[in-house]
Point group: C2
Chain length 337, copies 2
């Protein structure tokens, strides 16, 4: 690596995060499951049940923001990683690092919102751990949530499975979560309200998979935004992905906030947005199923998978020009999840 110290960008979910995984984690922990680089590990239990297993650390600042808080985010974050493998989330385990001096009522509030989020997502929180660190550390609290889910028979989605011809769907307008947290942290106000889009996605994924059972790939567009997850999929599947700028739904208030601050909504984190790569013959059925679900009402087909350029994403702009879309580089919005 160019730099010999950890930078904030190493945690931003973009190019440097990928480099950290490739250079440090993958070589040390090398195994077939980890090498898949999916949102969750797919595990075979006694040659029968297929489990999905995942973990996410949450360090969002501020702890409470419009539309959610760190507790809800931590539950949905992990539940959604499981859902992106097509797995029904079942159980969660939460590890808290608390700052000495944290008001107990803040913890109560967060824990209650985790419980509500778990109930909404249909999962049980079955194990936990708590550590406390001295005042001035951990910014109130960090929460890591691990989850276990069960992949139904017949469901086979994976980042590397995307195929030329697949239609690329996105279930909802992008950029709401990152901009909602950003505006709250910086004390900025827009004319209209902007709330995080945090939501549990298994239910809408299940509706999609029922309508389009040969869906190849699912991924939620969290850190790094829509652009970064598209590049990740293009790289994993060795395909090209073409997306049309005019078809990409952007939350209108988030778009305004992005324009104001000079940010590209394609790189802003979401917590209720996912992409689905669906074979063309099932695309219409997938669109109908998603439109019928509250979390897919604004679904859009934004592009297609091509043979080339392998590992790259091409954006067709509003003016018809084509340019390559890189992964997030640097650190657009720190601490948004």
């Amino acid at each position: 690596m160019a730099d010999d110290r950890i930078t904030l960008a190493h945690g931003a979910g973009g190019r440097l995060t990928q480099q950290l995984i490739t250079d440090v984690f993958a070589p040390a922990f090398h195994n077939d499951v980890l090498a898949q680089l999916n949102d969750a590990a797919l595990l075979s239990l006694q040659g029968q049940a297929r489990l999905a297993f995942s973990t996410d650390a949450h360090v969002v600042q501020p702890l409470f923001f419009p539309g959610g808080d760190i507790g809800e985010l931590a539950v949905f974050g992990t539940v959604n990683d499981l859902a992106m493998m097509g797995a029904r989330p079942l159980w969660l385990a939460a590890a808290f690092v608390l700052e000495e001096g944290l008001p107990l009522n803040d913890l109560r509030h967060v824990v209650e919102s985790m419980a509500a989020a778990a109930a909404r997502a249909g999962v049980q929180l079955v194990a936990g751990d708590t550590k406390v660190v001295p005042r001035g550390q951990a910014d109130g609290m960090y929460i890591s949530v691990a989850g276990v889910g069960l992949v139904p028979e017949g469901v086979h989605v994976a980042a590397h499975a995307a195929q030329p011809g697949d239609v690329v769907l996105v279930n909802a307008p992008i950029a709401a979560h990152g901009m909602a947290v950003m505006l709250q942290r910086e004390g900025l106000r827009m004319d209209a309200d902007l709330e995080s889009d945090a939501a549990p996605l298994y239910d809408v994924v299940a509706a999609l998979l029922a309508a389009a059972p040969h869906t190849h790939t699912l991924r939620d567009a969290t850190r790094g935004g829509l652009a970064t997850v598209l590049v990740e999929i293009a790289q994993a599947a060795h395909v090209g992905v073409l997306v049309r700028e005019t078809d990409i739904p952007v939350h209108p208030v988030a778009q305004e906030a992005c324009a104001l601050l000079g940010l590209d909504p394609m790189y802003v984190a979401n917590e209720g947005v996912f992409v689905a790569f669906v074979p063309p013959e099932e695309a219409e059925s997938a669109l109908c199923a998603l439109r019928a679900h509250p979390l897919g009402r604004q679904v859009r087909a934004i592009g297609e998978v091509m043979d080339a350029p392998a590992g790259q994403v091409v954006l067709e702009t509003a003016l018809g020009a084509r340019r390559l879309l890189p992964m997030l580089s640097g650190n657009l919005l720190p601490r948004i999840c």
Copy 2:
């Protein structure tokens, strides 16, 4: 709670940690699995396979100490929580919170030692996540590791299952880990070396369960020390536990360090020590099996389970006096795991 803010003692694994669980976490997340308060959740998958699922956050300071580091500790901590349910650990997921400015070589060192620890424990690290927080937070790094294991058929150990008549065994001398970290952090030196006892315990547990298949309860004596886990078990099983001070093995250098600093080794954290509650007819066989294992060579029978006083631990001192042993109260040694 008396205090309306989080204190370091809330994370020490003693009375206040228990109060936090009882008052804040348990009411919000109430479910049958969590209510068992075991080291790991026991889950039934499709009515067949029994999974164990657990998580632990690690915030130890310093990151590197004699006999181990935060990475090894994080792997063994979770592996041992699974082993204490009699479960064979299979898979781990690690969530890192890194401090901006952390030397990449420190991370490499920790990751390599996690990989070595995972190999030694026979588990695969299959999923992970990394966040970065600004300089001055997270003391280098925090690591949360979640784990999934499989409980073999016929194995039924639980905190509440301890029964009057059970013999209480402890596999190894206590107090080494906590004092090794403490001496390192405070820059103190003893005449002899003291190293953490961190070790993966499934193998020795499996040997014990083969020899004493009706073992009722297993628990590793981590935060809060031997005294605290004995009280936890007495409370969970509504039994009394009698232990004899003269039979409790204490690491000699750790004992010297405790004497110097005025600490009670019964409350010092261990990372390779567990208690086993074994029915009397299997006690001899259990002792033999443990003695034959490298991690049980110094096993001792330290006491018995009684009907009364329910929920309490009685210590018979060297002088023959009897006194109640409370849980850890306050914060003996902060940040030792």
